[in-house]
């Protein structure tokens, strides 16, 4: 005990301790993201707004705001936030419900709330709040988590939020991410493996059945398919749906494929000239591949792997379970989003809208990701140097 206290004291003396590796990786991704946002959006921004830096400016503003928030959060001991866990959950629910009367529609889905000039995606708030809430809840549960009841409790808690995100904001991807974060946090906090393997097998089997049913339905009666059913068909054969659901996928594949090993060079993308609509959003990775080639694509993936690795190191050295779970939640959030984004862009899975963390255009997303980074840094500050 005494030893611990002394080390804490020593650490608190060293106010400026930071995980500089993590900070550098995030700053690099942000800088690279801004360059790519400018590269992908300038042509369309110039046509549409008469200002080629239109999207860059907005993104830069959100990034600066996010960095300020990150520094702020990083300097507050993370236990401070534990008391807001339940409130956060409630706030998430309220914000999502506010979408119904006040949401702004864009791209055929209501996902944004506007507060003055600022826009906010409740889904991003919900992801952060879910991490906080689950970390707090698992810590409170203690050993209960090992029992079946605890296991299902943790799985059920995110479900209302996930369902609301799916049905109200028409945002299946965010719902999947929320559930995915919960499963990962549960996996880490629970010593069991068997249940998770079963869960994974069941999910996979469910996916196969859905694909099979959709294909059968398409063979019988093509018109009765809804929006997502068509997406699955377009995934299987994008060229056959080139003018409809497969359009974005096909254009992304053209971009990736035409990049080749070394790419066309920064700024030289052809696909961003309107062929791939809103290339700065979810499909930005395909333009990265087109301009910077296979090496560029690999470099981005490797940066994310490093980021995840840093998160893992911090989680495993966190002073307590709450801190570790917070970091695991953030790690899960980033990992799931990166994996799903690249999988969608390369048509490895059916198309669903997921942005690439730190790189894709989107103010809410980058701000909340930076707040999450702040949390991780805050946890990292609690680490005793001896443990590293």
């Amino acid at each position: 005990m005494a030893e611990r206290n002394s080390s804490r004291r020593r650490q608190s003396n060293n106010e400026n301790f930071m995980d500089y590796s993590l900070l550098f990786i995030v700053l690099f991704l942000l800088g690279f993201g801004l360059i790519m946002v400018y590269s992908t959006s300038s042509y369309e921004a110039n046509l549409e707004w008469g200002d080629s830096a239109y999207y860059l400016k907005k993104q830069l503003f959100a990034t600066i705001l996010g960095l300020v928030a990150m520094i702020f959060v990083a300097n507050i001991p993370y236990h401070f936030w534990e008391r807001f866990a339940v409130i956060g959950y409630i706030v998430s629910v309220v914000l999502i419900l506010l979408i119904i009367p006040f949401g702004r529609e864009s791209h055929g889905a209501k996902r944004w709330l506007y507060i003055g000039p600022l826009s906010l995606q409740p889904a991003e708030v919900a992801k952060l709040c879910m991490i906080l809430f689950l970390a707090s809840m698992i810590c409170t549960m203690g050993k209960q988590i090992r029992h079946r009841k605890g296991f299902w409790m943790v799985l059920l808690v995110p479900m209302p939020i996930a369902l609301m995100l799916w049905r109200i904001t028409q945002n299946l991807s965010s719902a999947i991410i929320v559930v995915g974060i919960a499963v990962l946090m549960l996996f880490v906090s629970c010593p069991d493996y068997k249940r998770f393997i079963l869960l994974a097998v069941a999910t996979l089997a469910g996916a196969v059945v859905v694909v099979f049913v959709v294909v059968q339905m398409a063979a019988n009666q093509a018109d009765s398919l809804d929006f997502r059913g068509a997406r699955i068909l377009a995934w299987l054969d994008p060229e056959a749906y080139a003018s409809g659901k497969g359009f974005q996928t096909i254009q992304a594949l053209y971009a990736i494929g035409s990049g080749g090993v070394l790419g066309k060079g920064l700024g030289q993308s052809m696909q961003k000239l309107g062929f791939l609509p809103e290339a700065q959003n979810d499909m930005i990775f395909s333009i990265i591949c087109e301009e910077l080639g296979l090496f560029g694509g690999f470099a981005v993936i490797i940066m994310f792997i490093l980021l995840i690795w840093r998160c893992m190191v911090i989680a495993n050295n966190a002073p307590d379970l709450f801190g570790a779970l917070l970091v695991v939640g953030v790690l899960g959030h980033i990992a799931i989003q990166v994996i799903l984004n690249i999988a969608v862009v390369t048509n490895t899975i059916p198309n669903t809208g997921i942005s690439l963390p730190f790189i894709s255009y989107g103010g809410s997303s980058v701000m909340f990701l930076l707040i999450e980074t702040g949390l991780v840094l805050s946890v990292a500050r609690g680490i005793r140097l001896k443990d590293l």
Binding site: V188, G257, F275, F298, L321, A324
Partner: protein, 583 residues
Amino acid sequence: MTQETSHLHKTYHRSKTVTVMFLCLLVFAVLMGRLVYLMVFQSEYYTMRAKELHERERSIKAARGRIIDANGKVLADNKTVCTISVIHSQITDREEVIAVLCKELGLSEEYVRKRVEKYSSIEKIKSNVDKSIGDAIRSYDLDGVKVDEDYKRYYPYDSLGSKVLGFTGGDNQGIIGLEVIYEEYLQGEAGTILTVTDAKGVEVAEEGEERVEPVEGQDLYVSLDMNIQSYATQLAMQTMETKGADSVSILVMNPQNGEILAMVNVPEFNLNAPYTLPDTVDSDSLSEEKKQELLNGMWRNGCINDTYEPGSTFKIITAAAGLESGAVKPTDTFNCPGYIMVEDRRIRCHKVGGHGAEDFVQGTMNSCNPVFITVGMRIGVERYYSYFKQFGLLDRTGIDLPGEAGTIMHNVENIGPVELATISFGQSFQITPIQLAVTASSIVNGGRRVTPHFGVKVADADGSNSHVFSYPVRDNVVSEETSETMRYILEQVVAEGSGKNGAVEGYRVGGKTATSQTLPRGSGKYIASFLGFAPADNPQVLAVAIINNPQGTYYGGQIAAPVVRQLFENILPYLEKMDYNRT
């Protein structure tokens, strides 16, 4: 709190966090593999597809090679016309574009709308539009409407030699005639303008445009002589009208080398409006199929596409075969009672009372059927058939025009005495006029079977890079001696015999007349024809005139021989002046 549980907790959550890390690594590895597949192994495919998407290709027509006659007159030329296209993504006022194009181009709204509304990088609306109309459309300055200038085939002499020259289609490709056969030389290579565009079709300036210049087609020099062709056409028209005939064909060739100087088939059609049926046809009430059928009929070149029973002109071949085989000598005497019995059939001579006693030369001058039947019988089926083959009558002549018809002939096993008798005076089988002219040429030119042709050479517009065509010649079709005898006999036919209407004062002309009834017999329809050549001792020009279904007098000697005489009267002095003895 319990440090132990906390520690225990930590141990497995650490290992599980590491598991999560490795799961992520595994998934990333799969995604990186996917990227390698897309960007290395599929790269070529996607690059090609993307390039197709980004580049807009406009072709630049190559100027088609001209067709030039023996005197250097241009028979087929090019004039500047416009191609009107629309670029879907650049159109700002769709309705106005449709309205203007309908009005200026005279197209149906449905047709134009379909093309204007089609989502494509560039869509052709109409080609071969007059330059004045193109300029008018350009003056509207409509967004998304492109007016590109290119060339259209133009025939300065309208209908002259129409069935020989042929015409070209909307993409300047040959449809019939020489335009088809010499397509590879005439067409040249189209060039392209490749422009890189963004998704809206706006050209991306810094990418520049890639321009592949067109290669002009080569000029085709033909043996056709427009002076002879136009005079022959006049003659044919005149004959057709005065005799009330269905059609008249005149073929003029050099029997020494196979060059064709004129090939007339009236009625001809206007090459500058090849899809317009004659005024006598009410083309509006016709179905598309029927109209196409009539057009095909209008474009047919009777001299090579159609076969007919040659009748008495074919006696030239029987005579040559008889002389060559030794079955007959010019001095052999015959007796014609007005008919001849072949097996149990009585085949009549055209002279009901008979020609009486006559030698072979006189028999030919009289065009006496019993004489030729007798000669045919003497030759015999086997030998006659082998001469038929040796003369090249079973093969096509190989003329450089499309669609030459083959000979319609009995199988050798099916030729009995009656068939042999009818073949001997040119009936019961069919050949093309060009086949007759070429076979007769080989018989009178010393036994060399030439290949009839128009094409002499091709060369670039400036005359460089020329390529002279050579054509196969088969020697010893008949002996020089037989050939000489034939020239003598045929000169006698014109000098004193049935072909005397073909005689030209001051020139030695040889020839043979024919009057054949068309199938079915008894229809009262005849084909009158005459084959003549001059000078008789050294033939430099050979002409065939065929009058199809004349009204009134239908004897070849009376109506076809004068046509060739008139032709010769005009072209023989002309050919001398032209120093035509180029061989």
